[in-house]
């Protein structure tokens, strides 16, 4: 909840300052000055606003200029993460039928190079006589991240809220992190990722991982920009079956958008586990075993993959 308040306050403050600038109470060097300095006529409708120093003030509505998107968090703040949070994800294997809506949403929102995926949905069968199941994987956002350990330039880093991110403006493309990651969750931009021009022009943000850049590594980022807005990662909200639940371990709550669970109860009752526990990487992604499934396992991927190649 706190996040939302903060962002609203910033929104208001930014709008207010823009409005004041338009009203002409500042010199021409004012950074908030817009290119087209139009005459603004007071509309007579007053709006109550919270000023930067916490006072409620009234401003004419006409002086306010809406800011379309909040500017991205600066990368030095993005490196620190959100205080008092420990993000976790729970993936319920009994609900997955490999619709790959998660993957499509993720690819779309992060403008990933076509053919590459940050979320992979594996057809798994642990042994000859065990049951097959679908296993979606994201970055595990390990608490002992092997990728962070090996990065020579601190381009991939672990934040206080548990998220592991990449600074694509710093990455030198040595790919040691890819060799180190046992979950194969990292992908490399072997060529220009083909990001639309207007987005490619934006400065890179560690929190949105956009725009991806040639010669650097990319991976699932747990969408911390969405968390700052108080919203769920794109994969979570895209999944129609509620496979993914995302939340804060310190609040002991995870949600898939329609259902909310107490994290510890969910893990205890459904015997949650993490992947490759024996490696000691301590992932932040938990899995619920594929029991009492919603769907039978049907693998039609062979044909589909043929199309891709």
């Amino acid at each position: 909840m706190e996040i939302k308040d903060n962002s609203r306050r910033e929104f208001i403050a930014a709008g207010l300052l823009a409005g004041l600038a338009l009203a002409g109470c500042s010199t021409k060097k004012n950074p908030f000055e817009t290119d087209t300095l139009e005459e603004v006529k007071p509309s007579g409708v007053m709006v109550k606003l919270l000023s930067v120093d916490g006072k409620v003030i009234e401003v004419d509505k006409a002086f306010l200029k809406p800011v379309p998107e909040l500017p991205a968090i600066p990368n030095d703040i993005a490196r620190k993460g959100i205080a008092g949070k420990k993000f976790v994800m729970v993936i319920d294997l009994s609900r997955c039928k490999s619709l790959k809506k998660c993957q499509a949403a993720c690819n779309h929102m992060h403008h990933i190079h076509p053919g590459q995926n940050w979320i992979k949905v594996y057809p798994m069968q642990d042994a000859e006589h065990t049951a097959p199941y679908w296993e979606p994987t994201t970055c595990m956002h390990c608490d002992e991240p092997p990728c962070v350990k090996v990065c020579p330039v601190d381009a991939t880093f672990k934040r206080q809220d548990g998220i592991v991110l990449i600074d694509s403006d710093r990455c030198i493309g040595c790919r040691f992190c890819m060799a180190a990651c046992p979950y194969s969750s990292r992908v490399f931009n072997w060529e220009d990722p083909g990001v639309p021009e207007d987005i490619a022009k934006q400065p890179y943000s560690c929190e949105t991982s956009v725009p991806q850049k040639k010669g650097t590594v990319g991976k699932c980022d747990f969408c911390p920009d969405m968390a700052r807005k108080g919203e769920l990662p794109h994969c979570v909200s895209a999944c129609p079956n509620g496979v993914f639940a995302f939340g804060d371990m310190l609040e002991d709550t995870v949600t898939n958008g329609s259902e909310t669970f107490r994290f510890s109860d969910l893990i205890r009752d459904k015997a949650g586990y993490r992947l490759m526990e024996d490696l000691g990487t301590k992932p932040s992604v938990y899995y619920l075993p594929p029991v009492n499934r919603n769907f039978p396992f049907e693998n039609n991927e062979g044909k589909e993959e043929g199309k891709h190649s």
């Binding site: 020579p152 040691f176 060799a179 490399f188 072997w190 590594v217």
Partner: protein, 435 residues
């Protein structure tokens, strides 16, 4: 010792102009370098997409070539330091050959690692944002140190020879004469200078041994510090070092043979040198074979699930031909050739050395690539081409270009400087005569 004898040695060992063969050789290497450079320009403009590497095999022949170069450069420390400190005087004529191989190999090791980077334009980040926790930074530190120590070990013993070169002004052209003067005119052969130089070489010979062990141990740790089957091994440091000494010694034998026959150095690089180097090579090959048995037999005995695909791929699967080729050419055949006294004559020893070098190059490829094709989670949700690796022409051109570049440095060095130390040869001959 008679002046005529000294003159004979000097005459024999002074650098000679390239003959027809030499010119063709230099031109050939230069063409390879240029093709490699063109390929690299393509890679710079299009990105690493011009290579065969993809998300699973994210390290290919660039990295195996890097490991190969680091390995071969270790010979500098073996011949100059280990043999010097054990008073193996016979190795004197080989020191400079070994040291120039070390310097040129380590130079190209650094270059090839830049070639492998996705963003070579951000190379400086290693210095401004370097994290000491990362094995890559360890590698940067020790390789830089090794490069400078090797360079000094090449330079200091060269000083008295530069003095000799400066005496033969009529034998050189203006620019070379200027170079000799620039590098060595301060050397006056005073007892104090000799004393300082000798001490410096002694100190460097001792320091280079731990540094040499470090460069290749750290290089092995680039792999061994990950979880992957085939790399996750405590054997890796020793396995790499023993292999490195082997390929380096092989390369020295090859270089010895080429210089000997091309520059008519039969009096200086003798049968006895090939005999001794041959014995060393047998010992090193046996040692490397021992570490290979450790590296493959122990996991193969257990056949853990995660290792199984990787190991079977090497033993009987898609990599089996290369695997057995490498084992045979880098170890078994050279051992069989060199255990016989007749096999340690120059020509067979040269062939054995060549086999070691070629086999070792493929061995490095097998260390890097097959492991990456066997990740913990199956290869999935990627384009079909991501599931295989075969180097593209650009990769081959760059890899071959870098090998050619290293040989070009060695060739040009031998054109400019005496490849066998003149001064040391004279003093040692004098000593022998006194005895």
């Amino acid at each position: 010792m008679k002046d005529s004898a000294i003159q004979k040695i000097t005459e024999d060992l002074l650098p000679q102009k390239f003959g027809k063969q030499g010119k063709i050789w230099v031109a050939f290497l230069s063409v390879l370098c240029i093709i490699g450079f063109i390929a690299y320009c393509r890679q710079l403009s299009k990105g690493l997409v011009v290579t065969g590497m993809r998300d699973y095999v994210s390290w290919g022949i660039y990295i195996s070539n890097f490991v190969f170069f680091v390995a071969i450069s270790l010979v500098g420390s073996l011949i100059t330091a280990v043999l010097r400190l054990t008073n193996a005087e016979w190795s004197t004529p080989l020191t400079r050959i070994a040291e120039i191989i070390a310097v040129s190999a380590i130079t190209f090791a650094s270059l090839i690692i830049i070639v492998d980077m996705g963003r070579p334009d951000r190379f400086y980040n290693l210095f401004i944002h370097g994290r000491l926790q990362s094995p890559i930074i360890w590698d940067v530190i020790v390789i830089t140190t090794y490069f400078f120590i090797s360079l000094l070990l090449l330079y200091f013993p060269l000083l008295p020879d530069l003095q000799i070169l400066l005496r033969f002004k009529e034998r050189t052209n203006k620019r070379l004469y200027w170079l000799y003067g620039f590098l060595g005119s301060f050397w006056k052969d005073t007892p104090q200078q000799i004393k300082i130089s000798r001490r410096a070489v002694n100190i460097l010979s001792i320091t280079i041994i731990p540094v040499a062990f470090s460069i290749h141990t750290v290089t092995s740790w680039l792999f061994a510090t990950t979880y992957r089957p085939g790399w996750d091994s405590t054997n890796f440091g020793a396995y790499f070092i023993s292999g490195a000494f082997l390929v380096g010694a092989g390369a020295v034998i090859v270089a010895m043979y080429v210089f000997r026959s091309h520059y008519n150095l039969e009096r200086y690089i003798t049968y006895s040198h090939f005999d001794k180097m041959g014995k060393i090579l047998v010992m090193l090959a046996l040692l490397y074979l021992y570490f290979n048995v450790n590296e493959f037999l122990v996991p193969a005995f257990k056949m853990k699930k995660s290792e199984e695909d990787h190991l079977m791929g090497l033993f009987t699967g898609e990599f089996a031909p290369v695997f057995w080729f490498a084992i045979c050419t880098a170890m078994i055949i050279p051992i069989l050739i060199l255990v016989n006294r007749k096999g340690r004559r120059p020509l067979p020893a040269f062939i054995a050395g060549l086999l070691v070098v070629v086999g070792s190059w493929f061995k490095r490829y097998l260390i890097v690539t097959p492991t990456l094709l066997h990740p913990f989670l199956p290869m999935h949700d990627v384009p079909e081409s991501y599931k295989h690796y075969f180097p593209t022409w650009e990769e081959w051109a760059i890899a071959i270009g870098s090998l050619a570049g290293a040989m070009l440095i060695i060739t040009i060095f031998a054109r400019i400087f005496p490849i066998i130390p003149i001064h040391e040869t004279i003093t040692e001959t004098e000593q022998h005569e006194k005895e």
